[in-house]
C-alpha cells in the first residue's frame, strides 16, 4: 500500500481530525452514561471511527486503519450492549484516539510508528469483555496471520446471511427478505481492506434511469469510473461492449464497491435512499444514515482482520459471482490492484530522496472553515472597493478634488468593513480549546484519585485563530494545576466540610474589547505567605521585600521563573517550570494574568487577551527620531511631567529613576538608553532638534528620599546637591526650566509590574497591522514586530515586558522598589494628613495668631464704636443678647489690639457659652502641618508657636484665655473624678509632643493621672505593664509603627482589655475614617482638639464604668 500525498490526503486529514475531536467528547459522554447506553451516541462514534478507517484504507495509512478497526470492534460491542463502557474501557479507547491524533500529526510517517501497544490494549479489552468469546478472539488472531483462511464467524442474527457451504459465497438479502445477490467473500474482503464502502443498490430501469434521461449504459459507465461492480443480477459486461439502448429486463440490483461515503453515494445514483444499503464488514446492511437496516440489533461480526504485513500482497482474487461472465470485473479489480506496486515504488523513491523525513510532515491546520455568508459579504465588499477605486481614479484623472474626497471617504469606510469581515474569518470559538478540558480533567482526576466537576461557560466567545492556538498550552497547564494542586483529595475535602467533588469553573467572556478567561477552583487556594517564604528561601526576593508585599503581590510571586510550591513533584505538574512559562506565553500574546486566592477557599486566575493579534491599537511614540508603537493593551496612562516638576517628582533610587505618581513610586526606564539611541529634544528657542545628553533624569535629588542616605552619591552629584541646598536653590531648577525638558512618560504594565517608559515625544494612538520581523532581528528582544505607518515607513513595535528586562527591572525588583518607596511616600502623606485646620488672624498689625478652626463658631465684622463697656467688661449686642468680648492682650503679653475702627469678632464657644475674640484681618483658614514649638513662646493663653506663611505665628489657647478671664465659667465641671478613691489613670497615645503636652495638661488639670505613649506600640506595652491602673485609653490615629486603629483593634480583641473605653483624638475628620474607627472598636471619635468635649467624654465613660 502506498500513501497518497496530495489534496485528497489533506482533505482526509481535516475531516479525520474533526471526527477525532468529536470522538473524544462523545466517549466521555458514553462513559458518563455507563450501562445506560445511548445508542445514537455510540453510533456516532462508531461512524466517525469508521469514516477514519475507510479513508485510511484508501490512502494506504495502514496504522491508522488498524487502530480504528480495533476501536470499531469495541464500539460495536458497546453498541450491541455486549460490553458495558467502564472507565477503563473508555480509557483504552481514549488513548487509542490520542494515538490516532499523534499519527495524524505526522501522517506521512504514520505507517512507521509503533502502535502495537494500543492495538494490544484494544484487543485485550475485547478479549476480556467476551470471555466466552475467547474463541472469537483467537480466531481473530489467526485471521490476522492468514487473512485468506479467515472464516467469518457465524453470526446468530438473521440478517448477515450464512456463508455457503464453501465458506466463500453467501447470499445477500434486502431487509424486507427479498433475496438480492450472492457474493463471494474473497472479492468482498479486499474491498473492505482497502477501506472502500460496499453498497447494495436496486434501480428501476424505467423510473430511475430512463425517466431521468439517462441510459443504463451511462449509469454503468459512471459506476465503473468511481468504483467496482462486485456483482449484479444481470449479465454484467464492461459498459464499452454495451449498446446505447441496452437495458436489462428486471430492476437492476448490484453490489458496488467505491470510495464514496454513504453521504455522497447518492450523487451517483440519484435514487431514493431506501434503495441503497451499505454493506459493512460485519456483512450486515445499513441504511445510508448509519442505522442498521433491520430492526434486530446486529451482532458484530469478526470479519477477517487485515494485517498490515500482508495487505500489500493481497492479490486480486478471481471474482466468482453467479454472474455468467465475471471477466471484466476481474479486470477492473486487477487494474485497481496493479496500481499498487507502482505507487509503492513511488513512495519508496520519495522516502529515499527525502533525506530529511521531518520535512515531509503535513501541517494539520492549514485550512479554515468559513461560513459562505461571510464569504459573500467579503465578495460584496471587494466589489465595492473596486467601484470606489474606479471612482477615485476617475476623479483624480479629471482633477475633481471633491470627487476624490468622496471616493476617499468611501474607501475608508469599505476598508474598515473589509477589515472587520476578514477578521471574522479568522475568529474561532474558544470552545475549540475548552472542549479538550473535560478529558484532561477526567484523566487527571482519575490518576490523582480526586473527584472533579468541570463547568465550562462561554464556549462561543470568539478569538483570533492564532490566539486560540497559542492559549491552548497555557490554559491546559492552568487547568491541570487546578486539579493537581488546587482541588484536595475527597477525604480531605470532606474533613474540611466541603463537597467531596471539587469544582473547577472555566469561563470566557468579552469585556472592554478584550477576552477574559477565568479559571477558578474551590480547592485549597494559594498561601501567599508560603509562596513568599519560598521565594525568600530561593533567594528570589529578600525578606524585607517580602515583608512589605501585599498578599496579592505575594501570590503573584508564583509567576517567577523556577517556582513551584508543590511539595511533591508529580508527572502532572510541579517540576518548577510552569507558571512562569504560562506567563511568558501570555505575555507574548499581549495578555495579562492575575491570581487571586484565598487559602482554603480556592483560587481564581484571570487572563485578559486581545481579540486579535493581527491588528492592534497602539500608542505611537518617538525616540531618537524614530517612531515606535506601544500596544494599547500594555498602556496604562500617559504622563507628562512639566520641566519645573521634573526635579521634584523624579528621584534616583539606586541607579534607577523613579517617579512619584499618586503616592506610588513608578520605576522609570529611558527608551533611548535601553535601545541605545540618542534621545532628542526640540530646542525651545531655535526649534532645531538636539540630542539630549542628560545622564540621569533627575539631576537634582531630594534629601527626603529615605534611600539616599544609604546610597553614596557620586562626587559631582554631591556637589550639586550642596549648591541646591545652599545659596543658589534656583540655579539647578532654572537650568531645566524650558518646556523641552519636560518628560514624556508612557506608563505601561506587563501584568504584574508597571513602569514608566521615558520617550522623546508622544504621538497619537493608531490601529496598526502587526508584521513579523525578519530572522536577523529575532535576537532583538525589545521588539514584538514591525508595522507600516501611514507614510509608508516602518515603525517598530515595542515589547514592553522584554524592555523591562533589558532595563534591569525584574518583576520583584520593580514591585519591591515601588513598595519600598511607597512606604516612605505614605509616611509623607501621613505627615501631611496630620494637619490641623487653623484660623489665622492678627490682633496687632504685625503679630500673627492662629486658633483651631474647629472651635470657631463664626466670624463677624464689627465697628469699634459698637462695643459697649458694661460692668467693666466689653460686650456687643449680638443676636438679641450681649456677647462678651475680649482680646488676647488682656491675658497674654502680646501687642495690644490694633487701633482701628473695623474689627473682627471671632466667636468661640467655651464652656457652653459664646465668647468673642477681638481681632483684625487678614483672616485666613488654612491647613498647617503643626510643627509646634510648645516651649519657646509658651505663656498663659498661648500654646506655643509655629511658622505659617513664613511668619512666626502664636497659637492661641482659647480655653485657657477664657478660663483666665472667667474662671467661674468652669467651676461646674471642675471636680476631679476618683475611681476607687484614686485619680483615674488614662493611657494617652499621641506622637506629636505638642498635642501630647496639651492634652495631658488639660487631663491632669481635671485630676486624672496620664500615662503618655509616643506611638501605638509603646502604648500597648504600657497597657500590658500597668493594666490594672488604666481605666481609659485616648489615642491619636495617625502614629508611626502602630496606628490608632491597630491599637484599638488590639485592645478590643484582647479579652483582658476589651472593656476599656477607647477615645480617638484625631485630625482625621473624614466620614470614612470615622467609620473605620467605629469598625475598629473606637468608642468615641473626637476631632482634635476640643478639650471640653474630650473631658466630657472621658467623664462620661468613667461614670459609666
Amino acid at each position: 500500500m502506498t500513501i497518497q500525498n496530495d489534496e485528497t490526503l489533506q482533505m482526509y486529514l481535516e475531516e479525520s481530525l474533526e471526527h477525532l475531536a468529536g470522538i473524544e467528547t462523545d466517549l466521555l459522554a458514553i462513559e458518563e452514561n455507563g450501562a445506560n447506553i445511548d445508542e445514537a451516541l455510540v453510533n456516532k462514534v462508531y461512524r466517525a471511527a469508521h469514516s477514519i478507517k475507510g479513508g485510511a484504507g484508501f490512502m494506504g495509512l495502514t496504522n491508522i486503519k488498524d487502530l480504528t478497526h480495533e476501536m470499531e470492534n469495541i464500539l460495536g460491542k458497546i453498541r450491541s450492549r455486549e460490553m458495558i463502557p467502564t472507565p477503563d474501557i473508555i480509557n483504552v479507547l481514549l488513548k487509542a484516539a490520542d494515538a490516532l491524533k499523534a499519527l495524524m500529526k505526522d501522517i506521512l510517517n504514520s505507517n512507521d510508528i509503533d502502535i502495537s501497544e494500543h492495538v494490544r490494549a484494544l484487543k485485550a479489552v475485547l478479549e476480556a469483555s467476551a470471555a466466552p468469546k475467547a474463541k472469537a478472539a483467537g480466531n481473530e488472531e489467526a485471521a490476522s496471520k492468514k487473512p485468506k483462511a479467515a472464516k467469518p464467524k457465524k453470526a446468530p442474527a438473521a440478517t448477515p446471511p450464512a456463508p455457503s457451504a464453501a465458506g466463500e459465497n453467501f447470499s445477500l438479502e434486502f431487509p424486507n427478505g427479498q433475496s438480492a445477490l450472492t457474493v463471494n467473500l474473497k472479492t468482498l474482503t479486499p474491498m473492505f481492506q482497502q477501506g472502500k464502502c460496499v453498497y447494495l443498490v436496486k434501480m428501476e430501469v424505467g423510473a430511475h434511469i430512463q425517466d431521468k434521461g439517462k441510459s443504463c449504459k451511462g449509469v454503468l459507465e459512471e459506476m465503473e469510473q468511481t468504483g467496482i461492480i462486485l456483482g449484479a443480477n444481470f449479465d454484467l459486461r464492461p459498459s464499452a461492449e454495451l449498446d446505447a439502448g441496452w437495458a436489462p429486463e428486471s430492476p437492476m440490483v448490484f453490489l458496488f464497491a467505491t470510495i464514496l461515503k454513504p453521504a455522497d453515494i447518492n450523487v451517483l445514483f440519484e435514487i431514493g435512499e431506501k434503495l441503497i444499503f451499505e454493506l459493512r464488514t460485519d456483512l450486515s446492511l445499513y441504511r445510508l444514515n448509519g442505522d442498521p437496516a433491520t430492526a434486530e440489533a446486529s451482532m458484530p461480526f469478526e470479519a477477517s482482520s487485515p494485517s498490515p504485513a500482508l495487505l500489500p500482497e493481497a492479490e486480486p482474487e478471481r471474482i466468482a459471482l453467479d454472474a455468467d461472465d465475471p471477466e471484466p470485473i476481474a479486470e477492473i479489480a486487477a487494474q485497481d490492484q496493479e496500481l499498487t506496486p507502482e505507487m509503492a515504488c513511488a513512495a519508496l523513491i520519495s522516502s529515499e530522496t527525502g533525506a530529511d523525513r521531518k520535512a515531509t510532515k503535513l501541517e494539520a491546520e492549514t485550512s479554515l472553515r468559513v461560513h459562505v455568508s461571510l464569504l459573500d459579504q467579503l465578495m460584496t465588499l471587494a466589489g465595492e472597493l473596486v467601484l470606489s477605486r474606479n471612482q477615485l481614479l476617475q476623479s483624480m484623472g479629471s482633477n475633481d478634488k471633491r470627487g476624490s474626497e468622496v471616493a476617499g471617504q468611501r474607501i475608508d469606510l469599505i476598508t474598515s468593513e473589509l477589515q472587520e469581515a476578514i477578521m471574522l474569518t479568522r475568529m474561532q470559538s474558544i470552545g475549540n480549546v475548552f472542549n479538550k478540558f473535560p478529558r484532561v480533567v477526567r484523566d487527571l482526576a482519575r490518576t490523582l484519585g480526586k473527584q472533579v466537576e468541570l463547568t465550562l461557560e462561554g464556549k462561543d466567545v470568539e478569538l483570533d485563530k492564532t490566539i486560540i492556538e497559542a492559549i491552548g498550552d497555557p490554559l491546559t497547564h492552568l487547568v491541570r494545576n487546578a486539579v493537581d494542586h488546587g482541588i484536595e483529595p475527597p477525604d480531605v475535602r470532606k474533613r474540611m466540610g466541603k463537597n467531596p467533588v471539587g469544582k473547577i469553573f472555566l469561563k470566557a467572556y468579552h469585556e472592554a474589547g478584550q477576552v477574559n478567561i477565568e479559571i477558578s477552583d474551590d480547592g485549597k487556594g494559594l498561601d501567599g505567605n508560603k509562596i513568599a517564604a519560598k521565594a525568600v528561601e530561593k533567594g528570589r526576593i529578600t525578606e524585607e521585600q517580602a515583608k512589605i508585599m501585599s498578599i496579592r503581590e505575594k501570590t503573584n510571586l508564583i509567576f517567577l521563573p523556577g517556582f513551584s510550591t508543590a511539595e511533591k513533584v508529580t508527572d502532572v505538574s510541579g517540576r518548577g517550570v510552569g507558571m512562569d512559562v504560562v506567563k511568558t506565553n501570555l505575555d507574548q500574546l499581549g495578555g495579562l494574568i492575575d491570581i487571586d486566592s484565598e487559602p482554603g477557599r480556592g483560587t481564581t486566575i484571570r487572563i485578559k487577551l486581545p481579540l486579535t493579534l493581527a491588528i492592534i491599537p497602539c500608542q505611537i511614540v518617538v525616540t531618537g527620531g524614530e517612531r515606535y508603537a506601544i500596544p494599547q493593551v500594555n498602556l496604562e496612562e500617559l504622563l507628562r511631567i512639566p520641566a519645573e516638576q521634573v526635579s521634584k517628582r523624579i528621584e534616583r533610587v539606586g541607579n534607577a529613576d523613579v517617579v512619584r505618581l499618586r503616592g506610588n513610586l513608578l520605576p522609570l526606564i529611558r527608551l533611548a538608553e535601553i535601545i541605545g539611541v540618542e534621545s532628542q529634544y526640540a530646542h525651545p528657542e531655535s526649534g532645531e532638534t538636539r540630542s539630549d545628553r542628560r545622564k540621569a533624569i533627575a539631576d537634582r535629588r531630594s534629601k527626603k528620599s529615605p534611600m539616599i542616605s544609604s546610597q553614596a552619591p557620586e562626587a559631582d552629584d554631591a556637589q550639586e546637591e550642596k549648591l541646591d541646598e545652599g545659596k543658589y536653590p534656583q540655579r539647578s531648577e532654572g537650568r531645566r526650566y524650558h518646556a523641552a525638558s519636560a518628560l514624556n512618560v508612557v506608563v505601561v504594565s506587563t501584568g504584574t509590574m508597571k513602569y514608566g517608559l521615558v520617550v522623546d515625544v508622544l504621538h497619537d494612538s493608531e490601529e496598526i497591522v502587526v508584521k513579523p520581523l525578519g530572522r536577523d532581528l529575532k535576537k532583538c528582544k525589545g521588539y514584538a514586530g514591525a508595522t507600516i505607518m501611514g507614510d509608508g515607513r516602518v515603525a517598530l513595535i515595542l515589547d514592553v515586558a522584554n524592555l523591562a528586562q533589558m532595563g534591569g527591572l525584574s518583576t520583584v525588583e520593580g514591585t519591591a522598589r515601588a513598595a519600598e518607596v511607597a512606604e516612605s511616600e505614605r509616611e509623607a502623606v501621613r505627615a501631611s494628613r496630620d494637619k490641623q485646620s487653623l484660623l489665622v488672624f492678627r490682633s496687632a498689625e504685625n503679630e500673627q495668631f492662629a486658633a483651631p478652626l474647629s472651635l470657631v463658631e463664626r466670624i463677624e465684622k464689627i465697628k469699634r464704636d459698637d462695643i459697649e463697656i458694661v460692668g467693666g467688661k466689653r460686650v456687643i449686642k449680638y443676636r438679641g443678647g450681649s456677647l462678651p468680648l475680649f482680646s488676647i492682650d488682656q491675658v497674654a503679653t502680646v501687642q495690644p489690639l490694633a487701633d482701628q475702627n473695623n474689627l473682627l469678632v471671632i466667636v468661640f464657644v467655651v464652656a457652653g457659652r459664646e465668647i468673642g475674640l477681638l481681632a483684625i484681618g487678614p483672616v485666613d483658614a488654612l491647613e498647617a502641618n503643626l510643627n509646634i514649638d510648645g516651649t519657646t513662646l509658651r505663656q498663659t493663653g498661648i500654646m506655643g508657636s509655629t511658622i505659617i506663611n513664613e511668619h512666626t505665628t502664636l497659637l492661641v489657647d482659647i480655653v485657657e484665655l477664657v478660663e483666665t478671664l472667667n474662671p467661674q465659667w468652669f467651676k461646674a465641671s471642675g471636680k476631679p473624678k476618683k475611681v476607687g478613691g484614686k485619680a483615674a489613670t488614662i493611657l494617652f497615645a499621641e506622637d506629636s509632643s505638642f498635642f501630647r503636652n496639651q492634652v495631658k495638661a488639660s487631663m491632669e488639670k481635671e485630676g486624672f493621672t496620664v500615662l503618655e505613649a509616643e506611638d501605638g506600640i509603646i502604648a500597648w506595652d504600657l497597657l500590658q505593664e500597668k493594666a490594672e491602673q488604666i481605666s481609659l485609653v485616648v489615642t491619636d490615629i495617625e502614629m508611626p509603627k502602630m496606628d490608632g486603629f491597630a491599637l484599638t483593634r488590639k485592645i478590643k480583641e484582647s479579652p483582658t482589655y476589651a472593656h476599656l473605653p477607647v477615645i480617638a483624638l484625631t485630625t482625621l475628620a473624614g466620614e470614612e475614617d470615622i467609620l473605620r474607627g467605629k469598625a475598629a472598636g473606637i468608642d468615641d471619635y473626637q476631632i482634635k482638639l476640643d478639650r471640653e468635649k474630650l473631658i466630657k467624654s472621658i467623664h462620661g465613660f468613667l461614670k459609666a464604668a
Binding site: A359, G624, L773, D776, L777
Partner: protein
C-alpha cells in the same frame, strides 16, 4: 513541499551535480569586489533607501524597509561578508532575495551586468576570496578580465548562532 525542501537546504558545493549547463548571474559590486548570484534567486532590485533603523540589531543590519506591505530586512552585504561597510549613495541598490520564505534585501554598492556562466568554467572557491570566507561562495567564475565570486545567498543569509 518538495520545492520547499529544495530552497530550505543550502546547497553544498557539488561539482558533479552542477557540472553541466549554464547559469545566469546577476552581478554586483560589494565595495570593489565583483560578486554574482543566480538571477533566479533575485526577486527585484530597487533603490529604496528610506529605511527604519533598528537599534540593537546586529551591526550588519542596515534597517527595515516597507516593500509593498512586506517588512524587508536590509543587510549590508559588505559588513555581512566581513568587508567594509557598503556606502549608501546614488549607485547603491538593494537586491531583494527570497531566502527561506522570507524577503531579505542585500545592500550592494553597484549593480553590474547579467552574465551567463557555464558551470564547467566555475571553479571551486578558494578558502578565502579577498578576505571573504570561501563558504559563502558557490564558486568562482573566470571571465576574460575578471573573476566573479558566485555567492550562495542562502548560506550568506543563514541564521547565525
Amino acid at each position: 513541499m518538495a520545492e520547499k525542501k529544495g530552497t530550505r537546504k543550502p546547497q553544498a558545493w557539488n561539482p558533479h551535480q552542477q557540472a553541466t549547463g549554464t547559469v545566469e548571474l546577476a552581478t554586483f559590486y560589494v565595495g570593489n569586489a565583483l560578486c554574482g548570484m543566480d538571477i533566479l534567486k533575485v526577486q527585484e532590485i530597487n533603490k529604496l533607501m528610506e529605511m527604519t533603523k533598528v537599534p540593537q540589531a546586529p551591526d550588519y543590519v542596515m534597517g527595515i524597509l516597507n516593500l509593498r506591505g512586506q517588512i524587508v530586512t536590509i543587510i549590508d552585504l559588505g559588513k555581512k561578508l566581513g568587508l567594509t561597510s557598503v556606502e549608501v549613495n546614488d549607485s547603491s541598490r538593494n537586491i531583494i532575495v527570497n531566502s527561506d520564505n522570507e524577503y531579505i534585501g542585500l545592500l550592494v554598492s553597484r549593480i553590474g551586468d547579467v552574465v551567463e556562466a557555464e558551470w564547467e568554467k566555475v571553479e571551486r572557491p578558494p578558502a578565502n576570496i579577498g578576505g571573504v570566507q570561501g563558504v559563502f561562495f558557490k564558486g568562482v567564475f573566470k571571465m576574460q578580465d575578471r573573476l566573479i565570486g558566485i555567492l550562495d545567498a542562502d548560506r550568506v543569509l543563514a541564521e547565525e548562532n
